[in-house]
């Protein structure tokens, strides 16, 4: 019998994810409780108070399953256990209980599309052509099938097919060659993956982030992405989840244009949430161009989604800042502005953290976070970005943005008691972003630190459901450096005004619809003049933003 403990999972409210603020973390990177140089669940559990104080209310854990770790855990070799470096299943359960006790939801990663080539299923599959698990993966005698399919990891992979010398045939892989794709045309695979999900759901987790969902099914003559059969599988999984574990959230990782992503919400019967990939680079673009056009344009192209669904917004994550969903001219611009050093580039993206991307400019960091937390969607904060951690572009792959969390200025930045040489990754040591300069302990002591500011803004966001669930309507002032919008839910209305420019700006807003309202600035709670018939004039400092609550008094 799987482990079930009712108290672990307090009842989930419908739509809880819409008003969540998610903190993304890899257990390996957060806190090492046993001095072996690798973060673990016991360590993560010890730091839950920190997350609670920060003001997030959900944690998204990156893969923590047994794995050869050739793709940072996205190459899973056992779906029903915990990688020994991170602890045991019991440690995970304990962490889950403690998180729930603090009101923190836990979302875990589920890599549906592929396994590690070290997974027993694949070992069996390749062992003989008549093995019962042979058909669990996608095999072919030549590499000529599905030619219309793009290669995702352009920097490392030449083909989506890899030759297996053991079974003397080719297997299909959309990601690295050591990550063979599961064959979702096989009902046994679908059933087994549901059982895997059920294993964790019964333990009490609150949601899944489903990795690489567009690629589940392959069909000749297509690009093997977003196929109807893939959607059918997702609908089936969703139904099973809804039937047995109501209100558990499914989050799609599908790096697609909004219009292509829209089907993943279905009629509210596929994913609850999906990442809005194209918005993120355009936020960086908008701030650098000092022009709202990229942001408003992509949001205007974003289709409506069912009422129960939600976009997930993020500034940075564990991957490169992906530039797949931009035009060529935009990509060139982003590279030139944000990744002049070629070492900062990876695949079609930029492997840097938030603070270095923004030149460690506190005003821009605040503005970007302000937009993240006020645009429609559920925001995700990548671990360490709340204190302005830096990156190490000289580490391979995306490891430069996966360095140890910087807790203090002491030994290993307070991450681990192990010898520094033993750490899973060298910590950031440079004088600007190193742990002696950037760490939780010192920022906790300063009311003006980035961490304190983040706590404050998250507290304000939590004070109203408007940001999570409200509608958005853009205001189009003639000054293109100003991004302004109205968020509304029921009788509550919030005006957000962002100055994307490095210089002070004045702006006239057409707020006549709200005539008679006064504006209450949400950070200082100061009252601004009442809205009248004339355009509402605001002057804004460089990169300044306002959140105003409108009140009819």
């Amino acid at each position: 019998m799987p482990y079930v403990e009712e108290s672990l999972s307090p009842k989930l409210e419908p739509g809880w994810y819409k008003n969540a603020t998610i903190y993304q973390v890899h257990v390996r990177t957060f806190y090492d409780s046993n001095g072996d140089g690798v973060g673990d669940f016991a360590g993560l559990a010890q730091r839950l108070d920190y997350l609670q104080e920060l003001g997030v209310n959900a944690i998204w854990l990156m893969p923590f399953f047994p794995s050869p770790l050739r793709d940072d855990g996205y190459d899973i070799s056992d779906y029903r256990s915990v990688h020994p470096s991170y602890g045991t299943l019991e440690d995970f359960k304990s962490f889950l209980t403690m998180a729930h006790q603090r009101g923190l939801r836990v979302i875990i990663e589920m890599v549906l599309n592929h396994t590690s080539d070290q997974h027993p299923w694949f070992q069996e599959s390749r062992s003989a052509r008549d093995n019962p698990k042979r058909d669990w993966y996608v095999w072919n005698e030549s590499d000529a099938k599905y030619r219309g399919t793009r290669i995702i990891f352009l920097d490392t992979e030449m083909s989506n097919w890899a030759w297996d010398p053991i079974s003397k045939s080719y297997y299909w892989h959309r990601f690295f060659g050591h990550q063979p794709d599961l064959n979702y045309d096989n009902p046994a695979v679908r059933e087994e993956m549901w059982q895997v999900m059920k294993f964790w759901l019964e333990m009490g987790i609150d949601g899944f982030r489903l990795d690489a969902v567009p690629y589940l099914i392959e069909r000749e003559g297509t690009n093997c992405e977003n196929l109807p059969e893939t959607h059918a599988i997702i609908r089936d999984l969703r139904k099973r989840v809804d039937d047995e574990f109501p209100n558990v959230m499914l989050l799609a990782e599908a790096n697609q244009w909004p219009a292509d992503l829209r089907p993943y919400f279905g009629n509210g019967d596929e994913f609850h949430m999906a990442f809005h990939f194209p918005l993120m680079p355009r936020m960086f673009m908008g701030v650098r161009l000092e022009d709202r056009k990229p942001i408003t344009e992509i949001l205007q192209q974003t289709p409506e989604i069912p009422a129960t669904c939600q976009w997930c917004l993020f500034l940075r994550n564990h991957d490169e800042l992906t530039l797949e969903m931009v035009t060529d001219i935009e990509r060139d611009y982003m590279y030139d502005i944000y990744a002049r050093d070629k070492a900062m580039r990876l695949n079609l993206g930029i492997r840097r953290r938030l603070a270095p991307l923004l030149d460690n400019d506190r005003r821009r960091i605040e503005l970007m976070n302000g937009m993240l937390l006020s645009l429609p969607g559920t925001p995700i904060i990548y671990y360490g970005d709340e204190i302005g951690m830096g990156d190490n572009i000289y580490l391979g792959d995306r490891n430069g943005v996966r360095t140890p969390m910087q807790w203090s200025g002491g030994w290993n930045g307070g991450f681990s008691n192990a010898d520094p040489e033993r750490l899973y990754s060298p910590p950031i040591l440079n004088p600007v972003y190193g742990y002696q300069a950037v760490n939780v302990l010192s920022q906790k002591r300063s009311p003006h630190s980035l961490l304190s500011w983040m706590q404050h803004i998250l507290q304000i966001r939590r004070s109203t459901p408007v940001f999570g669930s409200g509608s958005i309507e853009f205001i189009h002032p003639a000054n293109h450096r100003i991004l302004a919008y109205i968020r509304q839910l029921g009788k509550e209305t919030i005006l957000v005004v962002n100055n994307l420019s490095s210089a002070a700006q004045s702006v006239e807003l057409d707020l006549r619809r709200y005539k008679g309202n006064i504006l209450i600035e949400m950070f200082g709670r100061n009252i601004f003049p009442r809205i009248g018939d004339l355009p509402y004039l605001l002057t804004m400092g460089p990169y300044q933003f306002y959140w105003f609550r409108l009140r009819q008094i």
């Binding site: 673009m285 161009l289 000092e290 022009d291 709202r292 056009k293 990229p294 035009t327 001219i329 935009e330 611009y333 002032p477 003639a478 000054n479 293109h480 450096r481 420019s501 210089a503 700006q505 004045s506 006239e508």
Partner: protein
């Protein structure tokens, strides 16, 4: 500057490039011109902050509305170009009647307020404009720190009589710089030159008020700013019908003459000339057969010489005037207004203008019939010649202007 215009500029904020378009009742052509400008901006300067400033002199035909109506979203369909950032098009009415000087001032003031690094001017009638024109005008300022980029148009052999017979040779000999089109309807200037032009109040001086475009060129060459030229393309021939030659002469030759007084210390010391750097390559155009009423030109010349003899007598020395009278009596087939005589004529007019022997405006008006005579020679000579022949004759005329510059200096100083 009106409050409304100022408000629009505030919304634009700082820019890298201003593209100025001065209009007056240009509804027939303005739409495609602005669309080409926008396409040029998006193709050649996709990352730069650009504003199109339309200074309008009281159009009644909806010109300003058309400027604002051109949408960058249409460019994706037509030119396959995509805008990275917002592109502002602003129209400002500077007066109820057109005034080129005020139009230029309005655009320059806007460019100055917006901290533009460069400012390009495009004629609303340039229907032959290609998106690349903008790049050819602005890039030398951007990349190589030039202050003024003058155009070189591909002209038919019969085109540009005023430019080829007066403005180019005169500017070249006076200021020592071989600017082929000192009075171009398209040109670009640096923010530095724009600021200095405004700060020195050139627009308020005679030459600046009379001919704002050519005064910009003169200020740049006389002030030792970095000047270059860029090949554009074919110049649009606008069907103005009866073009008022007198007003064009006032705006160009008048301004050139007027500029010589304040700049005397500069130009009097210059001998010879140098070619400025030139970007791009010239493209050949086929010669078009142009119908010209040569007899009418000769009549206008001869009548002018006869009727204006007292006026011309107060401007020209006897030796020049008698030569003019001699050629005025020639038949159409024998008629020739020789280059040297023409050069002396122009120089004498310039010296008289300096001394204001008669009303300056009368001096310019008196030059008009003589210019028609020279135009007749220009057209006759080039009627059957190749492009190379036209170039050779033009160069020869310029050489005469340079060679006879001491004659000008003498007239300037001595003759009463």
């Amino acid at each position: 500057m009106s409050d409304e215009f100022l408000r629009q500029l505030i919304n634009v904020g700082e820019v890298d490039i201003v593209v100025g378009v001065s209009t007056h009742n240009n509804a027939k052509t303005i739409g495609p011109v602005v669309a080409a400008i926008q396409a040029g901006i998006l193709k050649c300067f996709p990352r730069e902050r650009v504003a199109i400033i339309n200074a309008d002199g009281g159009s009644q035909d909806g010109t300003t509305e058309l400027v604002e109506k051109v949408s960058i979203d249409d460019l994706w369909r037509e030119h396959k170009v995509y805008a990275l950032r917002t592109l502002h098009s602003i129209s400002a009415r500077y007066a109820r009647i057109p005034d080129p000087s005020k139009a230029l001032q309005t655009i320059l003031a806007a460019a100055d307020l917006l901290h533009a690094k460069s400012c390009a001017f495009i004629s609303p009638e340039s229907t032959t404009i290609e998106p690349d024109w903008l790049q050819r005008l602005v890039r030398p300022i951007y990349n190589e720190n030039f202050d003024l980029v003058c155009p070189i148009y591909v002209r038919q052999r019969s085109e540009g009589a005023l430019m080829r017979n007066v403005l180019y040779p005169m500017t070249r000999s006076i200021y020592g710089c071989r600017i082929r089109e000192p009075y171009g309807s398209e040109f670009a200037i640096s923010g530095r030159l724009a600021g200095d032009f405004l700060a020195k109040g050139i627009s308020n001086e005679d030459w600046g008020r009379m001919g704002p475009e050519i005064s910009m060129t003169i200020m740049a060459v006389a002030g030792k700013y970095r000047v270059c030229q860029s090949f554009l393309g074919a110049k649009a021939l606008v069907g103005h019908g009866t073009q008022d030659v007198v007003s064009v002469m006032r705006r160009t030759v008048g301004a050139l003459f007027a500029s010589m007084d304040p700049n005397f210390p500069v130009w009097s010391a210059i001998t010879g000339s140098e070619a400025p750097p030139t970007f791009g390559t010239s493209t050949e155009v086929e010669n078009e057969a142009v119908r010209i009423n040569r007899k009418r030109l000769l009549d206008m010349f001869a009548t002018g010489v006869a009727q204006l003899e007292p006026v011309l007598g107060s401007i020209l020395p006897e030796s020049v005037l008698s030569e003019l009278k001699r050629i005025a009596a020639l038949g159409l087939n024998e008629f020739e207004y020789p280059a040297e005589l023409w050069t002396k004529t122009v120089f004498e007019f310039a010296a008289s203008y300096h001394k204001s022997t008669i009303s300056r405006d009368h001096i310019i008006q008196a030059l008009v019939p003589l210019y028609r005579g020279r135009s007749l020679t220009f057209l006759s000579e080039n009627r059957n010649g190749s492009g190379e022949d036209v170039e050779t004759r033009e160069e020869s005329l310029c050489t005469d202007f340079e060679r006879l510059k001491p004659y000008l200096l003498e007239s300037w100083a001595d003759r009463k």
